[in-house]
């Protein structure tokens, strides 16, 4: 049995999944002061009548990290950077950094060494920091100087946490790695406390199953990994929803999924059964990071969106001024249109019709006004879908073949989940001229997504045969290439070994791995080929542990 928990802005949901069925679901208000309270309450509710020892996995999508950042509950972090020559970075970071000399170049070669005395001097200014982050340019190509600096700093920093940029990702982008390392250090102790509390609470309930934390890209990570890279647990809500869609609807054709809630619609695109990932990491408080996420777009339209006229234009959202009139609110909302149009069956229909009369006046019937509102809302959602597709299409590529052989993404299916999906998704699908699906279980889709999302993990192997070395940044490895003829298949094989090893260490069972990207260049010097640079990035394939074909329990829509 899988236990999935989603801590949302308003409600915290828990579900228990057993054998393709959701057998329990619980909803409790989110307790913002202490997330543990609502988590344990949701868990207790969902476990009523079940044996807690039968739970085989617990997975959490939580706002603990997001809240820490949004509410400014960040630890004081001492940031040390090794930028070498290039862009001036000091004014672009969340805190002013201590700049260390030293430089590793694009091939991962140490060009200038770091100086111990600078680290000591930096520490003197940063003594009272709770945690530290160290980031070096091209440390993903050779983490050596970050590790050296960390070892030196460790002598003074004692047991305080030190985050390294290279351990967060093996991808290029010093600025993003530095921001990521900073935020990782800043939320580190807050997350440890949370993790300790969650573990203790589960132990109390005799749940000894392994605990996983959802990431922004919809993969999960074992709690032990989350404790080292807690920043990955940011902005997980939309990812939980998307992986819930995967298990409920298994989109096989190119699709669009919409999670339509009270005030927003989250859009995701699907290809070959998987959601599309964002080309770039997310931004935290305006600072770009290397934290991977899904390719999503949010538009300010939901069931509670305010409907009104402004300068002779019908406006919908993004603001909410309370619930629908049919549910006791004061102003017309999109949900009132659903009720008046007979698309959903809740609330006070008379009040919904009054709302329609306020908008449509005497000349239009209630149904005409309702359809007009729904049409307007659907138009805005379709525009946002098209904008997301264009944004994806406009993303630069660096090979001629990729530029020339492009095929347009044409969705064939709209999948809707969330409270307001029933009222809007058919209209969106109709506008796009394609089919739609409203899978059951959409009301607790996030908790379902968390329950079933597979753990993921990645490694980046970069071999430079001219230098005769390879690196695996995420593992802090730099070693000699193992043999004379070392080709791309060998790099892939090596990458897979490291990935499986790293996964095993974290306790992740690997079903399948996949290649995220690879590059191969011949190094030519003086018209002679002297070696190759080969990079490959592999990951444990994301997905869901099981599909869900039904439910047992009450209140399922």
């Amino acid at each position: 049995m899988l236990l999935g928990i989603d801590v949302g802005g308003t409600f915290t949901d828990a579900v228990v999944v057993d054998d393709n069925q959701v057998i329990r679901h619980a909803k409790t208000p989110t307790t913002h002061g202490s997330l543990l309270a609502c988590i344990t309450q949701a868990v207790d509710q969902s476990l009523i009548g079940l044996k807690s020892s039968e739970i085989t996995r617990v997975a959490l999508s939580t706002t603990i990290v997001t809240n820490a950042i949004v509410e400014g509950q960040l630890a004081k972090v001492g940031l040390l950077v090794i930028p070498g020559p290039g862009m001036k970075i000091e004014n672009l970071l969340p805190v002013p950094p201590a700049i260390l000399s030293g430089y590793t170049d694009h091939r991962g070669r140490k060009v200038a060494g770091i100086a111990e005395h600078e680290i000591r001097a930096a520490f003197d200014c940063l003594k009272d920091c709770d945690a530290f982050a160290i980031s070096g340019k091209f440390a993903n190509r050779n983490p050596g100087q970050e590790l050296e600096a960390a070892a030196s700093l460790r002598q003074q920093a004692g047991h305080r946490h030190i985050s390294l940029g290279s351990q967060i990702t093996g991808s290029l982008n010093f600025w993003r790695r530095t921001n990521s390392a900073y935020y990782n250090a800043a939320v580190w102790s807050c997350f440890q406390e949370f993790a300790n509390a969650v573990e203790a609470a589960l132990r109390q309930r005799c749940i000894h199953a392994p605990v996983y934390i959802l990431k922004a890209d919809g993969g999960t990570m074992p709690l032990s990994v989350a404790r080292t890279i807690p920043v990955e647990a940011i902005f997980t809500g939309p990812a939980a929803s998307v992986f819930g869609v995967m298990t409920l609807a298994c989109p096989a054709v190119p699709s669009v999924s919409l999670d339509i809630g009270g005030t927003t619609t989250d859009i995701a695109l699907w290809q070959q059964g998987l959601p599309l990932f964002a080309g770039q990491g997310i931004a935290i408080a305006g600072y770009p990071t290397s934290i991977r996420s899904l390719r999503l777009r949010s538009v300010g339209i939901g069931g509670d969106s305010l409907v009104r006229w402004e300068n002779n234009h019908l406006k919908i959202g993004p603001q909410r001024l309370g619930p629908a009139m049919a549910l006791g609110g004061e102003y017309p909302t999109v949900s009132d249109a659903f009720i008046a149009a007979g698309l959903v069956n809740f609330g006070d229909r008379k009040r919904a019709e009054q709302a329609m009369a306020q908008i449509g006046g005497a000349s239009l019937s209630f149904a005409e006004t309702a359809n007009f509102i729904i049409d307007q809302a659907a138009t805005q959602i379709v525009q946002a879908i098209n904008a997301l597709i264009s944004e994806w299409t406009a993303e630069p590529v660096y090979c001629v073949a990729d530029l020339v052989n492009t095929s347009a993404f044409k969705p064939e299916l709209v999948i809707g989940v969330g409270g307001a999906a029933r009222g809007l998704v058919p209209a969106v699908a109709q506008k796009m001229g394609i089919a739609c699906r409203l899978p059951a279980g959409g009301a607790v889709v996030n908790a379902i997504g968390a329950a079933v999302a597979r753990p993921t993990m990645e490694v980046t192997v970069r071999a430079d045969t001219a230098i005769g070395e390879y690196t695996v940044a995420e593992c802090g490895v730099k070693a000699a290439v193992p043999r004379l003829r070392f080709e791309m298949p060998d790099v892939q094989q090596l990458g897979k070994q490291y990935l499986l090893e790293r996964a095993a260490q974290a306790g992740i069972a690997v079903e399948a791995t996949e290649l995220l990207q690879q590059e191969e260049f011949h190094l030519v010097r003086g018209f002679r080929t002297i070696g190759k640079i080969m990079t490959c990035q592999l990951q444990v394939k994301p997905g869901v542990l099981t599909t869900i074909s039904g439910f047992s329990g009450e209140g399922w829509q």
Partner: protein, 438 residues
Amino acid sequence: MKKQLGLVFFPAFDWAISPTHPERQERLLYTRDQIVEEGLLDLPQIQEYKPRLAEYADVNRVHIGVPAISPLITEAHLVSAGGAITAVEAVMKQEVKRAFALVRPPGHHAMRMVHGTRGFCTINIEAIMVEYLRKNYGIRRVAIVDTDVHHGDGTQDIFYHDPDTLFISFHQDGRTLYPGTGFMEEMGSPNAFCTTLNIPLPPGTGDEGLHAVLDGLILPALADFKPEVIINSAGQDNHYSDPLANMAITAQGYAKLAEQLKADIAVLEGGYSIEQALPYVNVGIVLAMAGLSYAEVVEPDIQRCPGQSAATTAYIQEMIQKWQGIWRARHDLSRQAKLAAGDFWHRNRSIYYDDSGIYDDQRERVRMCPHCVGYHIIESQAEHPGQGLVSAFAAILPRFACPQCRKDGQDAVHAAKRQGRYQHYFLQDKEQDFLEKL
């Protein structure tokens, strides 16, 4: 809000002239590494653009491919020309203040008539961009400043008879480097006199010499010419570490040049020190064009950069003064050149295509018309390896051609076709915007 810089980055990681050629997949690899690693593409001042594909019509607006352009080029050429067009569009649509097309393959050695590839170039991406700009945005006066170490002989050829295009090229002296042209005396044909400025610099010229030329000659000439658009053919092989040339410019020198030139659009040309120079020079140019500090963009091996000798400094000073004199007297000199030419200006040239092994014997004539810049005839006899002689006759009708020149140019190509001494006949009508093969 308008961003400072549009960056069209296209390293063409799957394209090479041949596996070990300087124009190979690896050329912009380390530049990509540096740009991405710095995080330049994430800066709020910079917008990255995906290049579009240029259309054959865009290419034929400039070039006369023999027997046609399509068999001579690959999709990569259409992407790099398209990248330049994407850059100019971003500026003209006011999405960005300036743009940099950091693309390959390069183009500045490609001349109007194209038989093959020379100096790694097959089609001239800046020229295609300029004519696109004129066709679609009604721009007339354009300046192109070529800062590649090699003389931009292709761009010079294309605009040699066009008084609306100021072409300035500084480069390592043609007596010491490919393509062996670009001397001060090449100043444009009489109707476009002194809209071609060549500044051949001695080997060993450093940042000091480059900036003396910029301040003493290039910036004043630009101020006098008053172009609507300034384009920089931003080759980077003047760098002290470049394997194909012998100059001593640094990333700081190039970045400061970009800052002061204030080009609306820069387009990458050459630059083959792919590890020691390009990552730093490109980061410097990108930062300078985006209005950001480039003070810390310094090559790790900067101590290898030789200083500029006193003799070189003196030589450059003297040349600047000589040029300043010519520039002041350019209107008189232009009248004299027209008088000397008579009814037709003509020249014979031998053009070598080093990448294709083709020798072209070219004869050009331009009508010295009092009413317009005059129609232009190219007669070409090119020896192709393995194919023998490929010959072509082309008449080019300029923009704003007078009726007489339009008629005479058309008659000339039809008469040549009747005589039948050539294999291919072309009419390039720049006014009506078409290239016709007769």
